[in-house]
Every structure is written in C-alpha cells, then in structure tokens.
Symmetry: D2
Subunit: 344 residues, 4 copies
C-alpha cells in the first residue's frame, strides 16, 4: 500500500482526488490538511464522501505528511514550492497539482504568476507529468508537476501533428472551452450560478497562465519554439474541457491523419481516438480519466481541426495525478482509474 497524504483538500481537485484515492486498491490515505478547516470531518464538508472517507482535516502545522510515501499538493499556486524541499529531503515523493513546478523558465514563471519562486533549484528536477510524453522519466521522479487542464487537452490533441512535423508550428490556434469547476471553489462573483449559467464568454485573450505551459510542451515536441494563439472560454458545464485545435498542413499529406493519431495513441490507456468523422462530447468522459480525440480535415483543405475532450478535474487534474502516482510506484497505470464515465 502506498501511504498518501493530501495537502489542501478543500477545493474541487482536492475532493476529486479523495474520491479517486478512496476507491484506489493500493492506497492508504493517511492525512488531509487544511489550514482553515482543521478538525472538521472531511465528509462534513463533502457529504458525497460520507461512509467512505473517515478522516478529519488536520492543521498543516500538526500534520505528519512527512511519513507518507507520496504527497499530493492540491493547493493554490505558491504553496507547494515552499514545502516541497523539506518533504523531498525526508524521502517523500510529490505530485504537485498546482502550477509551481510546471514552467522550466523560472523568470517566465515569475512573470506569469506574479511571485518569486521559492525553490527554483527544484524546477529543473521536476518532471512534467504528462504520461503520454514523459512516462519513462515520471517513473523515477521525486517531484512531478501535474499538468494544467487546458494544457492536457491541448497538448494531447496537437501531439501527433507536431511530433510528425506535419503542420506550421508558428501559427497554431487552440480555442478551448472549460466548465466552471476549472475556476476552483473560491467564492467569486463571476463564477456564481446566476453569472455563469446560460452564459458563454471568452476570457484572458490577452494572455492566460496556461499559454506558456502549453507553448513549452509543444515546443518540446517540435524541437523548436512554436507560436500559439490560445483563447480560453467559460461554458456552463460543471466539468469538462473541449479544445478545438487548428493547424495548417505544411505540405499535402499523403498518409491518413486518422491512422497517424490511432498509431500514436495505440498503447495509451487513457487516450481514445474516435473513428473518423466523430465529434467527441465532454460528457463522454465525465468523471473519468479518458481523453477522447477526433481529427478532421474539413473539405480536404489544408487546415486540420482536432477536437479533444477531457474531464478537467480528472485527466485535467486529480486523475492524471493518480495516473502519475501509479507510474511512480510501479502500480498498474489504470489502478483506481477504471470508473466508466457517467452518462447522461
């Protein structure tokens, strides 16, 4: 059994992590910390966990997560970078669901996140936890930076095209739509039901924090800097991300894009390439760790359109974190992640 601690379990990624871990066959959940809610039974805050998670939130000051095998950080940005070093020193491995260790260029990270990085030396060590790219290095990582939700959907969708050098990587476009849980469980006016229901809007067009993360990943795939226009939107879903990706073929493509995608993801347990002509729906992955992808070449023109959907809280956060844990500890990669999507 892997002894697991969760730091910061009161947000949506936290409670989703608890849902998955409580059903995981090889995990012993030892502690869930929360500064504000210490002492409260977890199931009092989240009645969905009644009878399934018996722990109380503990104060991080008193919590002994340093005897865990693995600690998940489901904290706001800026927390994990302060605590990671001490835990690693005690031999605890870490999967950080926040953004603290995702961007290799620390100066760039500081610009986008508006704070000084507390552990820049760990940024270099941290492994970007997208298993479809980095499975081998994740295996031995001490510190995994779990990808953001938009970056997961977007990178998986572009991956076969960029790796195969088929498209103009100077002008990639990602038009992405997210459910409202992606904004977290903070009390804010713009994510109130009466604001976000029956409403659709773009946001952060001038620049969103996931832009440098996606650009970094795509650049790594391409082996050179890529140009990306990334426009996120808020759509009235609880869960779900739909990325619509546009790229221009640099040359007439002889082979079949469908086959290219199917081959690339053939061995991936959590990427499902749909039959040609399909349109994946976000609900087809609701509450599951699957990414479903379809590739189109409308009217045979040179613009390729890729449709990629995930559940932002699962493959886009907690599920991918568990997948990374499974890889790190040599477990079946699908352990605890076999729930069938909830439909309708």
């Amino acid at each position: 059994m892997v002894r697991v601690g969760v730091v910061g379990g009161t947000g949506y990624t936290g409670v989703e992590l608890l849902r998955l871990l409580a059903q995981h066959p090889s995990v012993e959940l030892t502690a869930i910390t929360s500064r504000g809610d210490a002492g409260l039974p977890v199931a009092d805050m989240f009645p969905s966990l009644r009878g399934r998670v018996g722990l109380r939130f503990v104060d991080p000051a008193n919590a002994s997560v340093d005897n865990c095998d693995l600690v998940f950080f489901a904290t706001p940005n800026g927390i994990a970078m302060q605590q990671a070093a001490a835990l690693l020193d005690k031999g605890v491995r870490i999967v950080d669901l926040s953004a603290d260790f995702r961007i290799k260029d620390v100066a760039q990270w500081q610009r986008w996140y508006g704070m000084t990085h507390a552990a820049p030396w760990l940024v270099a060590e941290a492994v970007y936890g997208l298993p479809e790219m980095n499975r081998t290095v994740i295996k031995d990582a001490r510190l995994v930076a779990n990808p953001g939700c938009y970056p997961t959907a977007t990178q998986l969708g572009f991956l076969p095209l960029v790796e195969a050098e088929l498209v103009d990587t100077n002008h990639l476009i990602a038009d992405a739509k997210s459910g409202v849980s992606g904004a977290g469980r903070k009390a804010e006016v713009h994510t109130l039901f009466a604001e976000a229901a029956d409403n659709f809007k773009a946001y952060g067009v001038a620049g969103h924090r996931h832009l440098p993360e996606i650009r970094q990943g795509l650049s790594e795939m391409a082996g050179k800097a890529v140009g990306l226009t990334f426009v996120p939107h808020l759509t009235p879903l609880i869960r779900g991300i739909h990325a619509t990706l546009y790229a221009r073929l640099t040359a007439p493509y002889e082979a079949d894009l469908q086959t290219l995608f199917e081959k690339r993801f053939n061995d991936e347990p959590f990427v499902d390439v749909l039959p040609a002509g399909s349109h994946p729906e976000t609900r087809s992955v609701r509450a599951s760790n699957t990414c479903r992808i379809a590739v189109h070449q409308p009217q045979g023109q040179e613009i390729v359109v890729v449709l990629s959907v995930i559940d932002n809280l699962v493959k886009g956060a907690a599920g991918q974190a568990v997948q990374n844990m499974n890889i790190m500890f040599g477990l079946d990669e699908c352990a605890g992640l076999s729930q069938i999507p909830v439909f309708p």
Copy 2:
C-alpha cells in the same frame, strides 16, 4: 458469474444498467437487445462505454436471453409482461425496471397504464423490489418488480414514520422534484433543453402513475389504506430526485425522530440518515446507489418534514435493480455498487 441479459438497452436506465454491470465483479453480460438498433455496437450509441462494453445490440427475435441466469427489462411499460412468462418457464429470473408488475391490483394498473395486462397471474407472484422493505422475499423471487424512482425516494422517507404509526396517514403529502432524465430518452418537445433548462414546473397534479404505486407501498407499511397527495415537478437537473414529505404527528412525540430514523436504517447499506438539521443535496448521491434522508420538525410544531434524495437512474432504477440481483443471487449486496458519488 451471473449470466445477465438486458432487454431494451437504449434508454437512460438501460445505459446506466450497462455502466453498473460492466463494472460488476460477478456479472457476465451476455446480450443486450434492441429492436431498432440491432447490429449497432453499444459503444457507438454510448461512447462513454467505448472499451468497456464490446457487445452489439441484438434483435430480440434472435437474442438468446433465455440461457441467462437473469434478465433485466429496461423496456417501456407493456413489454415485460408479454415476455416474462416464457423466460420464467426456462428458469430465467427477472428484474423488471418497468411498471408492469408493480401494482398488485390489476384493475387499478390497467386504469393508470391504459392497457390490458398480459400476465395478471404473474402480478401476484412478483415481488416489489424495495430491499429496505422486502429483502427476505426478494432473495427467492423469480420475478422482481423494480420500484419507480419517485416511489423509492418517497417510501424510504415515509417508512420510519408510517411503520411506527406516528403520523396521520390520511393526509400525507409528497412534493417531489425530478431531474429530466426521469422522463426517458424519447424525443419529445417538453424535455428539450430549450424547454426544460432554466424552467421549473409541476405536472400531473391531477394524477401521476406513481401515485398508486406509492400509495400501495405506504398502505402496506401502515397496514391500512393511506391518503396521499403527490405532486411531481420537473427541475433542470440531469439526474436526481428530491422528495419533500409532509406528515402530521398524531400525538406529541416524546422520543427523538432523529433516533427513530437512524435506528430504522442502521443496517441499510444504501440509506444514509444525515445528522439532525441537515439538508441533503441531490448531487451528494449523483451516480451512486445511496438514498440520503434528513428529518425535521420545524419550530417544534406537529408537521414533520422529511427530505429524501436519490439518483433517479441509480437507486431509482438501475442501481436498485443491481441491488436486487445481488440479493437474489446471494452476492454481496453492495457488489458493483460501491462508486462514490460524483461531486461536483
């Protein structure tokens, strides 16, 4: 392994049944019939099942469900009553999710359902599949009539009060609210998104088919005919039923209603009595087989208010059907039903 067939797998209770059965450790799914979609891979209609259910729909004419141990009918009303006898004769046991065998008074059934019953002699044999009432007889039943969704939430909520003879059973009131999936997967104008979203309405106030079913169950608990006003409402949820129940105490109640409820359901794996003062939310049981209940006595007056929530497709249909199967075949009653509710 229990060999299982599903007759009529294209509706919401059908696909939910498939979701649960595909994850059940002791079930072998052998056939899923559909007249209209024979030949189609099930996962083509329901992409959420891709990689998890490999079967195709088969024509009921050609389907050999008679070699199953158990057949679920997830058909419209009026189908199971025509096919049950032949299957039972071959030793196949049946859980019918439709209303065909729920009402003991055949004449009354025929009035409410507007058709002649094709197998009245089986109505007497059929066991009403509410485990919290009838667990013992379910065990040996050949034919189980799986309860309706409103009846499940309502009967479980009234059960302790009526059994203990604490309330005036001549004037019970059940104000129930259902998500739209309860109306099924038929193409109809009034359940279109643009009709049912951002809208709330009562319906069937003059008389709803679940009224006689609930009345029959409550009368059995009470040992005498009860009077019930039942008002169903449509609310913009995909899944979920919330029953708000009103009953008048016939005498000042010395003891504690909270304790009464807790005791009654203490051994029930799928009924969760919340702490005093709680308000159960439908999402706290989303995609799970749990019924959560809270009992209130506002301002200490004589009107008792019970709040009872279920997922209409799980405890209100497919989950309860699997629970009944587990009981019938001597399996762990929770087998295949341990999914934690999906929150948010």
Copy 3:
C-alpha cells in the same frame, strides 16, 4: 416625470430595477449610489445597460437623492432603516426592497434579522406593498415595504382560499422553489455554478426569514393567526419562483375553486389565473411582472393544491417595486412593466 434615485444598485434587484426604470416612460433616473463602486459607469459593471443607462455610481455620502420624488432602496437589510427618516423628512417617498419595514412586530423582526431596528416608529407607518392586498393604502403611502419574493408567490396563491375562509389555516404548507439569483450577487461558495448547477436542495427548513412575513400576510387575510410550514428550496434556475401550496378544505366545497380564483384576480393586471388543469412554468413569466396561478383539487379530495409562479427579480422584487411606484404617483399601474416574458 418622476425623479427617481436608487440606493444600492449593484445587486440583482438593483440592476433589474435599472432595466425597468430605463424603459419607463415617466421616470427620470437621477442617481444610483454605491459605496464600493462610486465613480464607475453603471454600464461598465452591467454591459447589458450600455447605451441605455449613462449614469455612474455615486458615493452615498455625496449623492443628492434627497431631491428625488422617490427613492428605491435595493440595499442589504439594515440600511434603509437608517436612512429612511431623513429622506421622508425632506418629502422624498420611499420603496424599500429590503426587509427592513416588512414585519410589523419589531421584536419579531429583530429576532429573525438579528439586529436592532433603527427606526421602529416608521415600521407602523410603512405600507406592505402587495398591491393585490393593499392598493388603496399604497396610493398615499410615504414608505412602502416591498414584499419578499417567496412571500409574493405564496400570499397570492393562498389569497382567495384564505379570504374565503375555505381552508384549515392552522396547517398551511408552502413548498417553494427558487432560482439562484434569489440569493443575491454576493460571492459565496454555495451559490457558485459548480455547487448550484445540476443540484437541488431544501434549506432553512428549521426557519427562514420569509416565514414570519408570509405568516403575517396570511394572518391578516384570515383575520386570525395562521399556522404555516414553509420549506424553501434552491433549484438550478437563474430566475423564477414556483410555490406549491397545500391546504385542506374545511368543508366540502360546493362552488368551483377555479371560479373563485378567477373572480378574485379578475381586475388584477399582474395576476393571471390559468385554465383549470394547467401547470404554470416559471419561464412563462421570465423577465415579466406577472404571477401565474393554477388551482387543483387532485382526485376530488380535500387537499387543494395551488401552483404559483413569479420571476423573483420582477414581481418578486424590482417589478413590484415599480408597480408600487406607479400606484403611488398615480401613473398607469402597468407603465414600464409591459414587457412580454422571454420564451424560451
């Protein structure tokens, strides 16, 4: 032209008031105050008002609403009671959309609202602004207490039954469902989209602030104290209230309840009694000042069921406030309130 000021225009009732006033033929909007947003153009906060409301929020300290003919308070509870006296002294009339002047029994108000009343002497003078009950006295009122949303839907629905002394007023039941905008535009976790969407729950069963208000109104109609069980629920609508009301006939009723309701509301411009057998939908009054009502007597039994729907922000708040203004200033009662409901 009536010179109108709005104190506290940043919430949902505030912006709805602005929508209605900006389209009112006899209103000159002179000032909208907001402590926190002084200086901001109103249309910057609410782009729906671009090109239609040119004012900026002004600081209440500097605002000269005392030269208005009428001031609407769209403030949280506890503000109007502090400012009303000074305005009334200057001859300004007031419609208060908060709860400050709704409850005649000041001690009771203080218990439910948890504060000391700052102007108890004005409570006696204040007129409860339900035109269908109090039109005559509203006409000459200096200070109108605009009813709450639940109280409006509930009182209008019970009115004909209680006035005609047909029902047992000791055990009235109001099962009411509200859209989320009823909770206001404060940033709170429980009204976030990801909390309130696809979810249904009761709340405040032990006691809700609208209970004493409704009880007071019904008692006035009945000429004696009434007993009421009131259970509010939150449903995933932006706007809308649906009250399902239950009352027991005290004697077999010879006459026709349908006719009773139609007669009672025959001259009311904003109450629409639907044909017998109808089920009003909340969307049928969306964005309009109409209350639609249907009365049922299921299976001819002694329990009467009344269905009453309003838009909580219009007839339940801003629209009724404008209706009261129209009455107070001798305008056509429908002036500025003739918008047809938005459907779908």
Copy 4:
C-alpha cells in the same frame, strides 16, 4: 400600421417574432399560420403570450396572408420558396427567416440543402438582409433573405478586417458556439435536456450549411473568394451565439484595430464595439437585437482575435427580421427593438 402575417409560428423563431411584433408600435398582426395547430389559440401553445396575442393559428390553406403588407416566413427550409412568388405577385413583401433565398449560387444551395429550388428566379432578386452591409438595397426590396444566426455573428465580426483588406482571407477561422434553441423546436434526441445539458461538443466539422452562406458574405466584402474554416459547437445555453474569429494580419498594422472597428460600426444602432480588452458575454445581449464585438491582438502578434456575440433568436433571426421590416417600411430602424437585455 404595417399589416403583418407570420407563416409558421410554432418554432422558436416564430414565437420570438410574435414577442417582438406584439410590442411593436407600428405593426398590426393579422394572421399566424400553422398546418398542424390550426384553431389553437397561440397563447395556449405559448403561455408567455397570454393576454398579449389574441390570435389563433390558422390553416395556411385558409389563411389570407395575401392582404398583408409583409409576410414573415418562420418555416423550415423549403416552404418559402414555394409560396413566395404568389405573394409577391399580390404585392406582399416578404422577409424569409429560412435559408431558401440566402445563397446566390442555386446549384450550391441545392447541394447543401438537398432539394431542388422551387423559385430560382427569385434568388437573384432576393436581398440578403444584413443591414450593416445592405441597408440601402433592403429599403426597396420585395424579398429579403434574413441571414442565419452563425452568419450574422461571424460576418459582423470579420467585416471591418475584411473590408479594410488587412488580413489573409485565404485562411479565416470561425470557431462558433451556439445555444440549443438554434437547433429549433423539433423533438430530437440530441437536443434533449439530458443530452445537451452539462455537455459541450462540436458538430458538422466536415461541413455545415452556414459555411457557404458565410463564405458568400465574406467574399462579397473581400471582393474575391475567401477561404474559411468554420467549426460550430453546441453549448448548454438556451439562447446565444459566441463567435471566436481568427485572422492573420497580412502586414504589420500601423493603425489601431480598436479604432477601425469603432469607426466601422459607429452609426450602427445594433452593433456595439466594446472597449479594448473586453470580453463580450452572450448574456449581455440576451433577448435583445444587439451584437457586441471586441477585437484583440494577443501579445501583439499577427493573429487577430475577434469576439462577437448575439442572441441567436433576435439579431440572429427574429430581431433582425423586424429590423429589416423597419427599413423596408421606412420606420425607425429601432422600432419595437428597444428592449434592454435581460440580465442576469
């Protein structure tokens, strides 16, 4: 008064047309036809119109719409083309909300719409009713082809860029999202609440009927054939379209795009260019005839992003139809269209 008839008033564009026409100061509504619902009072089907529209649906066979000044066709595709000629011959002017007369290239129309055109000679005469492009010719038109919803939002958003010849028109991209009412009021499974709620998907990526219509409009603006990738999506809104448009600047642009847009639409009563940096929300135009637009140039790169929102039933259908009528009959262009958007 303009005497107006509506052919086909039972869909969403039909009822929206009735909402607008019933509030129009210069319109006399004389007849609303429906084959299936002849005899039914319009307000029985649409209770939102109770007390506001007193007409009954009449059978088109018996309806005398030929004495109208103007007839709106709110019919499925393929009806108007059969009836237009006869009406025009009697001097009746026509605004057709269906697609029958939108595409100048009849062969192309027949390919996309899968039927033989019944009145190809009228296609040439028909004026495409986008006032911001064609106001002058609309004025004298006998037959106006009212634009589709996606085409309206998309063309208005691209208009200033394409007219000014600033962008590469070979590779325009329109990523558009529509509320579910855009699919009409037909009973279909994929637009059921339980299918479309909490779900997001693209559709018609291979080719959507609005593609040739948009391409035709953009080509006219550009003075040459344009290349367009158009991806429509279904999002859980009742009403609203959000078009996210991508175009590449062909040369570094010295001037200010913001100013370009503001100038272009300065005199347009129904196009609102938001301040630089804005993100228009669909709800900011809900139930109104306004199109709100924002233009961005993220990170100063060469890709321009335009955000354009409309209410698909108003500016995308019925409202634009009324606007065209106002122009055709020399009325104030805003007559009957001054409703403020409903927010929240």
